[in-house]
């Protein structure tokens, strides 16, 4: 039976859904404990429902990967964990790879499942699903964002203090400033319905079309990298490789070509509806309903119809 340590990434006092999903998956196949790293973060451990190692230290306040490698490596060695799991994020990927090199442990990423000894990872743009294994003593895995449900463990939360011994090189990078984007409207990570806009909207003002439709459907608005870079919409709404990964029940793509950068951020959506005037847009290759047409004509009508139906 696997004895797993799960990295509990947190932001603004909340443990991230991806970390909780990894913890729930680990608990379903063996013993699963969490590790919480930061400064003044003890209260965040409340309600996790299992043993939580707490590394609470001022030097750990900035979300930088290398000091976290030190903390996790010591825990794995001292407590004999054979598996370390992460939910995908920029920070988690850096910690996982650093830890792999430190412990000579294999790292598999993009996992959507784990059975205690093997994992499963769709690869090459989901054209093949690979069963992956480890030959090392310690297994390290990163789950794809949105792949797992964050079910509650329901056990007793037992917070234990972890020793913090940091390497010189691990602490040589320092955080100068953190500028966190203001969230506008409902969070796209938690939304059941997302209406996303791309270049095909034509101009920034036309995001109103996406906003109106999202409102009618009770969902949130997302944007592609291209329009965020162009300043049409805030970064907090960006979906894709360099933005958020989402997996709503319904994803409506307006004027989005469906470049691989965007696809990786939304391909886990249950149902994808795309409206694009270019019949050759790649998005149609992975849409459940593809509509070739002018979104400026279709979307206002669609919004009206949805409103009428729901009222």
């Amino acid at each position: 039976m696997a004895k797993t340590l799960v990295f509990l990434e947190h932001h603004e006092g909340q443990i991230q859904k991806g970390s909780l999903g990894a913890l729930a998956k680990a608990a379903s196949v063996g013993d699963a404990h969490g590790v919480l790293v930061g400064s003044g973060v003890r209260s965040i451990a409340d309600g996790v429902g299992t043993t939580v190692w707490l590394a609470d230290d001022e030097r750990l306040s900035a979300p930088l990967p290398q000091p976290r490698v030190d903390v996790l490596a010591k825990l794995v060695r001292d407590e004999g964990y054979d598996t370390v799991l992460f939910g995908q994020s920029v920070l988690a990927a850096d910690i996982a790879a650093g830890l792999a090199a430190r412990l000579d442990a294999g790292l598999n990423w993009g996992l959507v499942d784990f059975d205690g000894t093997q994992g499963r990872a769709p690869q090459l743009q989901d054209t093949v699903v690979v069963d992956v294994g480890w030959t090392s003593l310690v297994r390290i895995g990163i789950f794809r964002a949105g792949a797992l449900d964050a079910t509650e463990l329901g056990g007793t939360t037992d917070v234990k203090d972890a020793a913090v011994e940091l390497e010189d090189f691990s602490t040589s990078a320092e955080m100068v400033e953190q500028a966190h984007a203001e969230q506008q409207g409902p969070s796209i990570e938690d939304a059941d319905v997302i209406v996303a806009g791309g270049r095909g909207l034509g101009e920034p003002e036309k995001f109103a079309l996406a906003e109106e439709l999202a409102k009618a459907l009770g969902g949130a608005v997302a944007a592609t990298r291209a329009v965020v870079d162009a300043g049409w919409y805030p970064y907090s709404a960006q979906v894709g490789q360099t933005g958020k990964t989402v997996s709503p029940k319904l994803y409506v793509a307006l004027g989005i070509s469906g470049a691989i950068q965007h696809k990786v951020g939304m391909q886990g959506s249950n149902v994808i509806v795309a409206i694009n005037k270019d019949a050759n847009a790649p998005i149609f290759e992975f849409s459940d309903l593809g509509v070739v047409g002018d979104l400026h004509e279709i979307v206002p009508k669609l919004t009206e119809l949805v409103r009428a139906r729901r009222s």
């Binding site: 290398q66 850096d94 650093g98 030959t135 669609l302």
Partner: protein, 253 residues
């Protein structure tokens, strides 16, 4: 300032990428090209060198012998020379083996700054730099959408799920740049002509500390789950109604 850029020669997207069921490895027998994401790192290195007025840009890679053809694109863009770690013993290396080989090659170069692209274009990995940083025991900054180097330190702007972090680190350091950082230049005709004459060295596994057995395995390959039947309609004026019908059918409204 000496800058090393780690790049990967990947199967050309146009040639198609597939896993060879006989070896469970990515089929690299097709034409190889430098990963698009890595061209941003090459461009950033060239810009830093140009701004400093002097320095050297060295391309460092691991791959089959013919990967050198792909590395020549970076030389054509303006990099000064290329070092390719190539050895049959390194075939099938995973993250650990690749990190060890690259770290071995980088130790011999001892650059002030090492740049990576934000992810590999084939395997989708986005963390190799962190394993290399661990081996070289130097600071890392990933997903940098801005980078400045001044005196003995660098400042990078890291783009995360939550916004932007400004991180400062002393040199030598490793930075993985995002594709938001610049627009890579196209090689000029003169650059392409001159690339062949630039120094291109190879290193064996023994030169970089030996090969490492992979710590990860591919156990089996499965076809992707079917996406259900995709529907396609051309708007004839009734698209909005048809979308509503579809959503109702799926119980989404």
């Amino acid at each position: 300032m000496k800058i090393a850029v780690c790049v990967k020669a990947v199967p050309d997207a146009a040639a198609g990428r597939r896993i060879d069921p006989a070896t469970n490895r990515l089929d690299r027998s097709v034409e190889l090209a430098i990963s698009d994401f890595d061209t941003y790192a090459v461009e950033e290195a060239l810009k830093l060198k140009e701004a400093a007025g002097d320095g050297e840009v060295v391309i460092v890679s691991m791959g089959p012998e013919r990967a050198m053809d792909a590395l020549r694109k970076a030389l054509a863009m303006g990099a000064d020379r290329a070092v390719l770690v190539t050895d049959a013993a390194l075939e099938g290396s995973d993250l650990l083996g690749t990190a060890k080989a690259l770290a071995g090659a980088l130790e011999q170069e001892s650059p002030d700054l090492v740049l990576f692209g934000q992810q590999s274009a084939d395997g989708g990995g986005a963390s190799l730099w962190a394993a290399v940083g661990e081996r070289l025991r130097c600071p890392i900054v990933s997903q940098a959408s801005e980078l400045t180097v001044e005196g003995g330190s660098l400042t990078g702007k890291r783009q995360t799920e939550f916004g932007y972090d400004t991180i400062r680190a002393p040199l030598p350091a490793i930075v993985a740049v995002s594709d938001a950082i610049n627009t890579p230049r196209y090689p000029s005709l003169k650059g392409i002509m001159g690339a062949k004459k630039k120094p291109q060295a190879t290193l064996s596994a023994a030169d970089v500390g030996g090969a490492t057995e992979p710590a990860t395995t591919v156990v089996g390959l499965n076809p992707p789950p079917a996406r259900g039947e995709a529907r396609r309609i051309e708007d004839d004026g009734s698209a909005a109604e048809q979308i509503v019908e579809f959503l109702a059918e799926k119980r989404l409204i």
